[in-house]
């Protein structure tokens, strides 16, 4: 009985995870983007924790705590501070408008559900749709990176991709070995910080952080 409860929590949070990915993609304000990212990571932590209890793999608890601390608190805080220091406008600027990108992303989600559904090798898994959701998040993150103008939103897209990959890891393999998991967290954190440093450098050199100004190098 209890196990069933946990399983349905996993299903529910996975769905919410996908919905949050959409919300992140279409929200017009930078602040709400970051808040949605924090929620996204929080849901990932919940999924990780439930998987830990459902499958009795307790080292996942550490991974869940790390997700909670780093991705729902530390990284969003870094971002909030960065926006305040940059004093930038808060609207998100996109190359294609939001209804159209919503349409595209629905298509991407459809493709990933269809593709993963055809993979017979994944039939052993309890929640195959989690894999589809992970792959969709991956696609949505890439989509976000290619259609946004601000350097900061590109980094958000990257973090979205990383969350997708983490969901994949948690649901298919119950996380990597602990040593590897901690290393990956370290890389994500350092990566976010270094990209932050470069966002400041871009602002200093290009008077703004629109990446469509980065077109000097060609050929």
């Amino acid at each position: 009985m209890e196990q069933e409860w946990i399983l349905s929590i996993i299903h529910l949070t996975s769905m919410a995870f996908l919905v949050t990915s959409f919300a992140l993609l279409v929200s017009p304000q930078l602040f709400s983007c970051i808040r949605f990212y924090a929620i996204h990571s929080f849901l990932l932590a919940v999924i990780t924790l439930s998987t830990a209890f459902y499958n009795h793999v307790y080292h996942l608890i550490i991974s869940a705590v790390l997700t909670l601390v780093l991705k729902t608190i530390v990284i969003p805080q870094i971002f909030f501070r960065m926006i305040r220091q940059l004093g930038m406008r808060k609207e998100v600027e996109t190359y294609i408008n939001i209804p159209l990108s919503l349409l595209f992303s629905t298509l991407l989600v459809f493709i990933s559900f269809y593709g993963v559904g055809n993979m017979k090798a994944l039939d052993l898994l309890l929640s195959k749709e989690s894999v589809s959701i992970a792959v969709s998040t991956l696609f949505l993150g890439m989509f976000m990176m290619t259609t946004r103008k601000k350097a900061l939103t590109q980094v958000l897209g990257l973090l979205l991709i990383e969350n997708g990959v983490f969901l994949m890891g948690v649901t298919t393999t119950f996380g990597m070995p602990l040593l590897v998991e901690i290393g990956i967290f370290f890389d994500v954190l350092v990566g976010a910080i270094i990209m932050g440093v470069f966002v400041f450098k871009i602002r200093g050199a290009f008077e703004g952080i629109d990446v469509d100004k980065l077109t000097m190098l060609k050929g």
């Binding site: 017979k120 590109q154 990956i184 890389d187 470069f198 290009f206 190098l217």
Partner: protein, 489 residues
């Protein structure tokens, strides 16, 4: 001495450089660290029997013959690059770079060496991933040393594209891990160990492994500069300071190819088919084909060299894809030769940039007359990189193509030969424009004995490797190519 000692040398020297107060000390630790690292790695590789893998840290670290070659490559090119940089960046006078920047440079340089070493020495596929991501993070600051607009742009593109690529590779690694768990191959803690996966590769699910290989190829392929994921490469290589370009082009790309090769071996055994071979050949030839027109019409000599790296990584990938003793041996030798030749050329580009203050090909004329030493080495280097005998790259290209013919991939070989001829013509045109003819105004020249001797050493290496490969290195290459063929000794 163990693998851990080897890995700790660059960390220690990076740390020492950060805390040293004067420019002289920073420079000392910079060069001394690289020198000790190179010496120790040569000693270590040839002292321990490299034909039998050495393990450490509950098998998380491993050095087999394949890894040993890359260790030698990283440390040797690292040493050359640091010697060159000691003359190139540590200038005095009005062009001097502030010591705080130099300290940062030296720190990230040694960190970069450390992450590359960790990448090739890790037996655990997850740790290898962490290290390869680490190379991106460490070298982003090296690409942007001068904080110019164009270098910031290049570093940003490099950082973003490679991180996305590498996230995809992580996806592939998770798939491999999944198929190892599903196949119930053993203790979960060890299931990412390459040596274990290799032993039980037949039990891995072929369909999942194919998918995983695609993800890893795209991911690490981005880092290796395989087309069509190479778009960051010419920017980063042309904007980085020349000693860094040499390191990026000579060894960083090779390290990513190394990552792909590890997965290729597993995939080939697991699927029992030439699936991954076909993909490698396809992307290899595509890289050569994409690089070709850019080489022909290039206006910037550093970008010219960068596109040539795309071409050569493509050739190495194709060689691995052709398979067979000839193709694989050729590809490994090609990686070694390319590392030395390309780093030599990037060092030359440092000289050129310094003397002519421009990266444009048409800004450099009459090099042989004004500076016969540099002009001669540059011209010979260009001949070597475009695959002319008697230089070393000719030998490895020949071996790769013979491997292709042996594998009955005649179409692929014909296309490659055609493209190589075109690229040769392009290089020859650029090189003759730059070195021959006369120049009206006298270029600035400051002699730096250190930088010149690095160039001299480089050309000797390139020349000698064409005739004679030392016996220990030869046997190392042979046992490495047996590993790639999947012959478990």
């Amino acid at each position: 001495m163990t693998l851990v000692h080897l890995l700790s040398i660059p960390l220690v020297s990076g740390f020492l450089a950060v805390i040293s107060p004067t420019k002289k000390l920073v420079r000392l630790f910079f060069v001394l660290g690289a020198l000790i690292l190179a010496g120790c790695s040569w000693y270590f590789v040839f002292r321990t029997n490299a034909h039998k893998p050495v393990f450490m840290f509950s098998e998380n670290l491993m050095m087999d013959a394949l890894a040993a070659i890359f260790v030698l490559l990283i440390t040797t090119v690292g040493l050359l690059s640091s010697l060159y940089a000691a003359g190139y960046l540590f200038k005095d006078g009005d062009l001097a770079i502030p010591v705080i920047k130099l300290r940062r440079y030296v720190f990230f340089f040694h960190l970069f060496l450390f992450t590359m070493l960790l990448a090739v020495l890790s037996n655990n596929l997850g740790i290898m991933w962490i290290a390869i991501e680490g190379t991106t993070l460490a070298s982003a600051f090296l690409v942007n040393v001068d904080d110019k607009k164009s270098s910031i742009e290049a570093a940003w593109k490099y950082l973003i594209l490679c991180t996305v690529g590498i996230a995809l590779a992580l996806f592939g690694i998770i798939l491999v891990y999944y198929s190892a768990i599903a196949g119930a191959l053993g203790e979960q803690e060890n299931l990412l160990h390459w040596s274990l996966l290799l032993k039980k590769a037949k039990a891995l699910d072929p369909q999942v492994m194919k998918l995983a290989f695609i993800f890893v190829l795209v991911g690490y392929g981005t880092k290796a500069g395989l087309a069509p994921f190479h778009s960051w490469l010419p920017d980063a290589h042309s904007q980085a300071p020349s000693p860094v370009s040499a390191l990026l082009s000579g060894v960083l790309l090779s390290c990513s190819v190394f990552g792909i090769v590890r997965f290729h071996i597993l995939t080939r055994i697991a699927t029992g088919s030439g699936f991954s071979n076909g993909l490698l050949v396809f992307f290899g030839i595509l890289s050569v084909a994409v690089a070709c027109p850019f080489i022909l019409v290039q206006a910037d000599y550093k970008r010219l060299l960068a596109y040539s790296s795309v071409e050569h990584m493509g050739l190495a990938a194709a060689g691995i894809g052709f398979g067979g003793p000839l193709g694989i041996y050729g590809a490994l030798l090609h990686i070694v030769n390319h590392a030395f030749t390309k780093s030599l050329l990037f060092f030359c580009s440092g000289h050129l940039l310094h003397q002519f203050q421009t990266k444009e090909i048409k800004g450099v004329r009459g090099l042989l007359k004004t500076n016969p030493f540099l002009g001669g080495i540059f011209f010979l280097g260009i001949l070597a990189i475009s695959g002319l005998p008697p230089f070393s790259i000719f030998v490895s290209e020949f071996s790769i193509l013979s491997g292709g013919f042996a594998a009955k991939r005649f179409m692929a070989c014909a296309v490659l030969l055609f493209l190589l001829v075109l690229i040769f013509a392009g290089f020859l045109r650029h090189a003759s424009n730059m070195t021959l003819g006369t120049r009206e105004q006298e270029p600035r020249s400051e002699k730096s004995l250190l930088m010149d001797s690095v160039l001299g050493l480089g050309i000797v290496l390139v020349f000698v490797m064409g005739f004679y490969i030392p016996a220990p290195l030869q046997s190392l290459l042979e046992s490495a190519s047996r590993i790639v063929q999947g012959v478990v000794s």
